[in-house]
């Protein structure tokens, strides 16, 4: 029993990804997002999540997969890591399963176009290949180099 971990499985393009359930606070439907000017392109803006202003990251854009328009299945997965809380836009949230830790293998060099840097490992369950995300790295604020001031008044 100790070796099992509950994960939430979501879809991004053709791949299935997994994040540990204890990092997931909720799964929301798409809703209007307030754009934040002059920030990196994968930060889509902020939403009002029951009174808390929460930043929203488009995972496709984060992993440099081509963006598509949102559909009925598009979801926002609200995750929290340490003091950081953010929403991740994914194509669909598919499943919750118990993952045997022993079935997790170290990541191959390149998986589905996503930099190995963001991957904790891969797991094969029956015929599905799950990619375990390293949320700490995905949510690293240092990647948020805000564009330098283009204009200012002198």
């Amino acid at each position: 029993m100790m070796n099992e971990e509950k994960v939430i499985i979501f879809q991004l393009k053709d791949e299935e990804y997994a994040v540990p359930v204890q990092h997931v606070k909720s799964i929301e439907r798409m809703q209007p997002i307030t754009r934040i000017p002059r920030t990196v392109s994968f930060v889509k803006g902020v939403i009002n999540l029951r009174g808390v202003v929460t930043p929203i990251i488009d995972l496709r854009s984060r992993f440099e997969i081509e963006e598509v328009s949102h559909t009925d299945t598009t979801r926002i997965i609200i995750v929290s890591v340490g003091t950081i809380e953010a929403g991740l836009i994914v194509d669909a949230a598919n499943d919750v399963i118990d993952l045997d830790k022993e079935s997790i293998e170290p990541p191959p060099e390149v998986v589905g176009g996503v930099d190995a840097e963001y991957i904790q490992g891969v797991a094969k369950i029956e015929k599905r290949l799950l990619i375990l995300l390293d949320l700490v790295k995905v949510l690293n604020p240092e990647k948020l180099d805000v564009q330098p001031t283009k204009e200012s008044i002198h």
Binding site: P32, T34, R35, I36, P37, R38, T39, V43, G45, V46, I47, N48, G51, V52, V53, T54, P55, G82, T83, I84, E85, A86, L139, P141, L144, V146, Q147, T149, E151, S152, I153, H154
Partner: protein, 668 residues
Amino acid sequence: MELTQYLDIFIEESKEHLQSINQQVLLLEKTPGELSIVNEIFRSAHTLKGMSATMGYEDLANLTHCMENVLDAIRNNKLDVSSSVLDVLFASLDHLEAMVVEISEGGSGKRDVAETVKELEALEKGEVPQSMQAEANNEAGSLQDYDQYEKQIIIQSKEQGFHAYELSISLREDCILKAARVYMVFEVIEQIGEIIKTLPAVDMLETEQFGTHFTLSILTKESAVDVKERILKVSEIDAVEVIDIKADQLNISSNSEREENDKLEQQEVSPQDKKSGVQQTSNAGSSGKTIRVNIERLDQLMNLFEELVIDRGRLEEISKSLKSMELNETVERMSRVSGDLQNIILTMRMVPVEQVFNRFPRMIRGLAKDLGKKVNLEIVGAETELDRTVIDEIGDPLVHLLRNSIDHGIENPVVRSSKGKNETGTIYLRAFHSGNHVFIEIQDDGAGINKQKVLSKAIENGILTKEMSENLTDKECFELLFASGFSTADVVSDISGRGVGLDVVKNKIESLGGSITVDSTEGSGTIFSIQLPLTLSIMSVMLVEISREKYAIPLSSIIETAIIRKEEILSAHNQKVIDFRGKVVPLVNMKDIFEVPGSTESGQHVPVVVVRKGDKMAALAVDSFIGQQEIVLKSLGQYLTSVFAISGATILGDGQVALILDCNALIK
């Protein structure tokens, strides 16, 4: 006995007592002969001793006990208040403070105080003959005898700012209705204070069983002269003599120290007495009743209220769209009530800056001593109130600035007198309200900032190039002090000048939503001016629309809004400007700055919001004004920490998030 539940109270009260001892000792330094101050200190120390002994903190109790002995020696004129005595007292206070802090952090309050105890004991033993005591007793002899209970009332009301007077009133020999006159005198006094004792007793006065003379002891806030004048207005009064009752006279009149200690102890064990005494005096007027509330509860209240403000906004929006008279009225009423509620909650969280300022005189004294400088700290406006959260954060930056002023600002006494200045330097610490802001200024009459030194240091540290340095204004030059990694002290001292400094101060103040500026005249001093918002969480903003995005601009930075015609936009150095009331003000197109998607065509008229930062202005071109609104400031969270020109976000009535503009970032 289960003591942990009293721990919080113990810590709070100990802090208060230590604070009051601190203040009183400083006062004592200024007026060494004033025995009433010594008594004050004695009382606080005694209470502290009792409390800590009850709680089982022996070191704390021991040390206060030794302090008490020294104070007692001073009180009985066995010991003079010299600077060495004060130093030891301050040293003991430092120990006490450290112990209380340790206890509040969950420690045992143990500390090696042997040395200070020894010093205290040595002081105490350096005693001289006890000849003075009789004299003091004589002095007290002129007063009536007060019982313990009455003394307690007098002492407590004195603490609350009342004066205690003994009035000797003589009626004219030919006075017919003596009781009526007495009644009239009573009435006069009851208007301005309270009578605590009469001689002869009241019923004897009423039945005219006295000669022409009677004595009253009263508590009042009026001055002796006023009291006298008021009483003399009653006809047939021959003479009134007003004697100020000094608290120390009350204590000294008791025979021996031993007895008095017993009495103090008695007071401690009979809180009933004490309480009724307090009640009596509070009936007399001014002092309000207070309760202690955990700050967490206030925070919760604030959070709940913030939710309410958001819902109020939503309700206002709904009622506007429904156009129902009844609903409108109800919503308007609710808005008014919640407005009042907001004021109350905000003022509840306000505390006087005194809390922070109080520890500075001590600190300045110590620093000045260490550095061999003479410094006088003048505090103005300590009663100015600020939000609790700001108070908690502002202490360290102020300490830093004050240290700076002493270390870099105020010169050595020798240098000062050679420059024709008073040997003692003065640092003014001022706090005052202005509009929606509180200003705190730290001004010294020291050397001022040497511009050349600042520039060469900045170049040396690579903050600035030589070419850039040539056409800097004074103000821009002083701003360099806030650049990170900057320190102009020639010698790195213990007090300041480690290169971490003013930039940290600046960051801290900006994180509180404030700003800091510095101005200086070489040779005659420097002034640091800090501007802080009154409160952190709720503010008034102007909502504007840019394309289809809504932004909030804090009212505090708006000068006015205007609608200008296209032709009025001029161009200077590739920068669009407008003529605003005779001034050339740069025009900022928010749509470009924020890269707002959508068409850029606009009509013949451009709505602009004129904002300011210090004395600089800018006009922000927007698409339309939505209106003024109270909003709750929310942070963007830990993930988005440095967003350009956005200071936070808020949730609007329709549930959408609107971003709050940071005008300071837009004006450079």
